[in-house]
């Protein structure tokens, strides 16, 4: 059985300008111990999906209008706030994008790590402190015992993210949601954090949802990848399959925008940008949401009139497009392939 099953999740924001359909019918599953990568550009609903799973969105304005989030057989979307509090941090933990602001500046690091364990595991001060030192060592913070009594401002961004990870794994969660864990960090630190997450995942047998806009990051870490665009899943496939045979024009374009080291079979020349902007989610087109930016779509196409459905092109490879790469006859100008 899947650890987490998100089925037709719809999270809408009810604002004065109208209903913003930030997440519009997203379904995926996460298997125990596996990593699911969610990629997409800013504002495509990645983070809202993650926050919906944890029920962390402020309600109002946000509301889960449809769908279910089943974690080990319980629908989290229907759980009371009291029960959710017991799930958060213990069963599902989350790390956030900006480690500089995710720690309370007025509390010592140790206090912030111990807090969670005292809350969920019922440890007393002494046990919690011992465990906190172990955790800091586990996330490779040198001189762990002494650093417990330091305040967050004495830590660098990468170290703070390590502390956040230590807090997240402190109660051995079954699922870790990492919402752009490396976006605020520079590239060398980024690699270190990704290695750490990989290592901890294996050790703790956690499943992970890795949210990022960086194709390079998911390529390295994810088993399966979900590509989101304008609140919907446009392509979903195992990691290798997706990189080897991208089907959706959007995925192709994302890969085309990725710098690569020159080599055999690799595109030379300039990086390609995707023309246009994502649609306004307060009033999304009823047709394919990528159609206005799609190099393969024209006005006579069915996809300019109605929404293509997700279909399984190959086993495990789902695409929402009328023009997947394997069904295309001609290659128009400007495409990356």
């Amino acid at each position: 059985m899947a650890l987490l099953e998100v089925d037709n999740l719809k999270t809408h924001f009810f604002t004065r300008e109208g209903v913003v359909r930030a997440v519009d019918g997203v379904s995926f599953t996460v298997e125990p111990g596996k990593t699911l990568g969610i990629v997409g550009e800013s504002g495509c609903g990645k983070s809202v999906t993650a926050l919906s799973i944890m029920s962390l969105l402020p309600q109002p304005p946000a509301k889960i209008v449809d769908g279910s989030v089943t974690f080990e057989g319980f629908d989290l979307a229907k759980l009371s706030e009291r029960h959710l509090e017991d799930v958060r941090g213990k069963e599902i933990a989350m790390i956030f994008q900006d480690p500089m602001t995710s720690l309370n500046p007025t509390l010592k690091i140790g206090t912030q790590i111990m807090e969670t364990m005292e809350r969920h595991l019922g440890l007393d001060r002494k046990q919690a402190k011992k465990r906190a030192i172990e955790l800091l060592e586990e996330v490779h913070i040198p001189n762990a015992a002494n650093r417990l009594s330091d305040y967050p401002h004495r830590f660098s961004g990468g170290m703070r993210q390590r502390v956040m990870i230590a807090i997240a794994i402190s109660c051995n969660p079954k699922l870790l949601i990492a919402d752009e864990p490396t976006t605020a960090l520079d590239v060398t630190v980024q690699a270190g954090i990704l290695d750490l997450l990989d290592e901890l995942q294996e050790e703790h047998e956690m499943a992970m949802i890795l949210i990022t806009h960086d194709m390079g990051v998911v390529a390295e870490a994810a088993d399966d990848i979900v590509v989101m665009y304008a609140g919907q899943i446009v392509e979903q496939a195992p990691s290798l399959e997706l990189f080897d045979h991208p089907e959706h024009p959007y995925t192709e374009a994302l890969l085309g925008a990725l710098p690569q080291i020159e080599g055999e079979g690799i595109r030379a020349g300039r990086l390609t940008a995707i023309p246009g902007r994502p649609p306004d989610l307060a009033d999304p087109p009823t047709a394919c949401r990528f159609a206005p930016r799609c190099p393969f779509s024209d006005r006579e196409d069915s996809c300019a009139k109605e929404m293509p459905q997700l279909r399984e092109l190959r086993t495990g490879h789902w695409v929402r497009s009328a023009h997947p790469a394997s069904e295309r006859a001609k290659t128009p100008l400007g495409a990356s392939t």
Partner: protein, 313 residues
Amino acid sequence: MVVSPQQQRMRSPDPAHSGDIQVAGAGTPIAQSSLWRDARRRYMRNKGAVVAGTIFIALVAFCIFVPIVSPYDPDQVNFADAYLPPSLAHPFGTDQFGRDLLTRVALGGRISIAIGFAATLAILVIGLTYGSISGFVGGWVDNAMMRFLDALYGLPYLPFAIITLAIVGTVNFWTMVIALSIASWFTSARIVRGQIITLKENDYVRAATAVGARWYRVLARHLVPNTLGVLIIAIFLELPGVILGEAFLSFIGLGINPPSASWGSMAQEGREVYRTHTNVILIPSIAIATLVLCANFIADGLRDALDPRTKET
């Protein structure tokens, strides 16, 4: 170039800082939060605030210790000594009952300052409770609580205090505190609400929720402590108003009952004879003015010191 506090301390042979130098040992983690250390350093740089703070402490010490060491009984009536001019035996002179003014002004100061702090504290506790609930719960609760506050804002502070005292009937320390705080906590409630709303959006609040912290823990651990800086400033901003309010109430005869006295009621006693014996009104008035001025300067210094955005240039 950014100069670290340690370097700066090494350079300036300021005796006030010499006690801290041992923390600069290489490799050993600095034991205490440098938030407060920085704040103190910034405060010390503000000369006006330092002077005001010193005078303030001296004034409080004066009020505490003078009655203890004074040879005079502050309530002993002795008409033979009435209205003595300042002399070696009575540095501030005596009042109409022949009581030593130095002793009485210190005793009055105890009451004035104690009422001032107690009322300020009451204001802050009420404001903190009301404001944090309003800001934390948000939504229509916040709206209702704030509109109620808007309505209360129309209440004038001093007339309301007078009415409260009239309703309660007896005037003692605690009724005075109630009267002074009942119509003056609105601003602090608003300040706290604003702070809580800003802080609530912080990532670490969301992070705390994400690891399963319950709401009261989020409020007590992550929100209220972060309003501390603002609250400390608010204490010293509120204090002058409260002390002046108390002095005013005493001056118009609604103050502490004789033979105890506050600075306000002493000034009121001196008002009748201000032409012939100016010192009787002058001394408590100067005391009030000094205290209020100091509190304002201290508030100013604290605001600069505790606001993390005021960085050295």
